[in-house]
Amino acid sequence: MSPAEGGTRGIRSAHTLAAAAALAVLAALAVWALGTEYALAQAAFVTTWAIAGLGVILVVGQCGQVSLGQGALLGLGAYAQALLALRGVPAPLSLAAAVALAAAGGWLASLPGRRLGGLYFAMSTLAFALVVEEALVRWESLTRGAAGLAVPPLALGGWVADTSLAQALVGGVALALAWFACRRWVASRVGRAWRAVREDEVAAAAAGIDVARAKTLAFVVGGGLSGLAGALYAHWIGFVSPEQFGLMLSFELLMLAYIGGARHLAGALWGALVVVALPQGVSLAVERLPPGLAGAAGIETALFGAVLVILVLLRPGGLAGSR
């Protein structure tokens, strides 16, 4: 275990308090500046991205492996949820199916790399993601291809989550549950095995840990969390199409975990805040440029990339990392 995780209880609770206070101030500022409706809609997205971020943090931060396929796993969850909801399957069942499908996807994506590790996970998850994206485009009879699918609002029993408040609430509850589960996992035998694999695979194997199994488990659990996030995201955005879940999303999720701080669960929330706020900030900044300037889309991409480079160089431990 690294020293940063073994901090004393007093320091940790002070950190938690400071983080909670900062979040409360941010939330108040967001409501004041953007209006309640808009702020709540954004809160739904932030909580959903944070769930996906938890999945990445388990794989990248806890187990120390690289995944370039989380975006596609989110896509699997989103499509499973959308298709089942359109066929009238009740939400608790379809959510479970979405989570299971994405977890199976995580298992499949990590299978080729599990004895090789390191870069090979990046390669095999990348291949998996590209195959999934192509399959979503080509399997038109099921997914309607590149045209995409409209998704009805989330219905739990007789209650329909079609307002921003309801969506933010559902997102918050789901995040709280996922967070609680992750804290249990990270503190358990499984979590210790993950960190041991991250720090030194040979030593972990010598201590009796099944390294390949620990890695696979991280990808399965991370995939399940991505599936949950994808299923909720499909409802919030109301429309799914294959290009939403491409390589760019996988990199955004990696960036989320890296910016927030991949070693701490709290990094998921901070990273989600940045990832939701950054594109909107960037497009606001681009709007201020003279209107005659062509290629605004290009400038947005360039600014986004520049922010990523600067954050990686200046804050290698992420926002939640104290080092």
Binding site: G113, L119, L130, G298
Partner: protein
């Protein structure tokens, strides 16, 4: 399907495969020498093609001069990036370099896309042999395919000479075998890192110029570099000849898959192949060729 069609399809597959192979070569070269996973080879390829295009069309240089100058400028750009940004990569680990190069790639793609002249029209590099064809024993082969294959063979020969016969090549090889021993033997490791990035960027630029007659020159042409990863894996990830061979093999497989399989399968085959290779032959197809760059 006649044998002649097959020959034509194979020739086009080998030509496309050469481009994949060159990009894979640049990726593996950087990975071996510096340990960094570069996700911006596609963008370097695209910027290289645009640099040659701009030097030829906007600055009015003759094509050969534009080509040499453009590739040299890209090599210098790669070295500059290494000196200013990539060298500062904090800590080890694939993730940092991956995110850093992806961010740099976004900056390049966005910057080129923001230039109206570059993003609003399709461009074609007016190479002298573009559009011509060669009759070879009844089969009609596109001259640009033959030119791509010849150029790749020439480049591979030059690289072999560089790695086998020059001190810098030897030092680069030593660096990728064992950094500490290389440093003890008086090799400047930092200098070799700069050289590796310069070579990688230059190679990507050459691949961009070779790709220009096949596709158009546009800001998203760097997507072709995604095919370089399966090529590198097929070649065993750390073998330069393996990467080139993997690329050519992939190009041929893709061309044949385009003939024999339903539409869309062509784009998936390289990745399915890569996952299968990782499962069955983790050392890569070219494990037997490995051992010497």
């Amino acid at each position: 399907m006649s044998a002649l069609t097959l020959i034509q399809v194979l020739a086009s597959g080998v030509a496309t495969g050469c481009v994949y192979g060159l990009v894979a070569l640049s990726f593996v070269l950087i990975y071996k020498a510096t340990g960094a996973v570069s996700f911006m080879q596609g963008e370097l390829l695209m910027v290289g093609a645009f640099a040659v295009l701009a030097l030829h069309e906007a600055a009015g240089l003759p094509l050969v001069a534009a080509l040499v100058l453009g590739v040299a400028a890209m090599a210098a750009f790669g070295a500059l990036l290494e000196r200013t940004v990539l060298r500062r990569t904090p800590g080890p680990g694939h993730l940092t370099a991956l995110l850093l190069t992806f961010g740099l790639g976004m900056v390049m793609r966005g910057a080129v896309g923001a230039v109206p002249a570059a993003s609003h029209a399709m461009h074609r590099l007016p190479l002298p042999f573009a559009g011509a064809s060669v009759q070879l024993g009844g089969a009609t082969l596109a001259a640009e395919h033959l030119a791509v294959i010849a150029a790749t063979a020439l480049l591979a020969g030059a690289l072999t000479l560089f790695f086998r016969r020059t001190r810098a090549g030897l030092a680069l090889r030593a660096c990728s075998e064992d950094v500490q021993v290389a440093a003890l033997m008086g090799v400047s490791v930092a200098g070799m890192h700069t050289l590796a990035w310069a070579l990688g960027a230059g190679l990507a630029a050459v691949a961009g110029v070779l790709l220009a007659p096949v596709t158009f020159v546009h800001p998203n042409m760097g997507l072709v570099a995604l095919k370089a990863f399966p090529a590198a894996v097929l070649g065993g990830m750390t073998s330069l000849p393996g990467a080139l061979a993997g690329g050519v093999f992939l190009g041929v497989v893709e061309a044949v898959a385009g003939l024999a399989l339903p539409e869309g399968a062509k784009d998936v085959v390289p990745y399915l192949l890569m996952m299968a290779v990782l499962l069955l032959f983790p050392g890569g197809f070219a494990a037997g060729l490995r051992g010497r760059p």
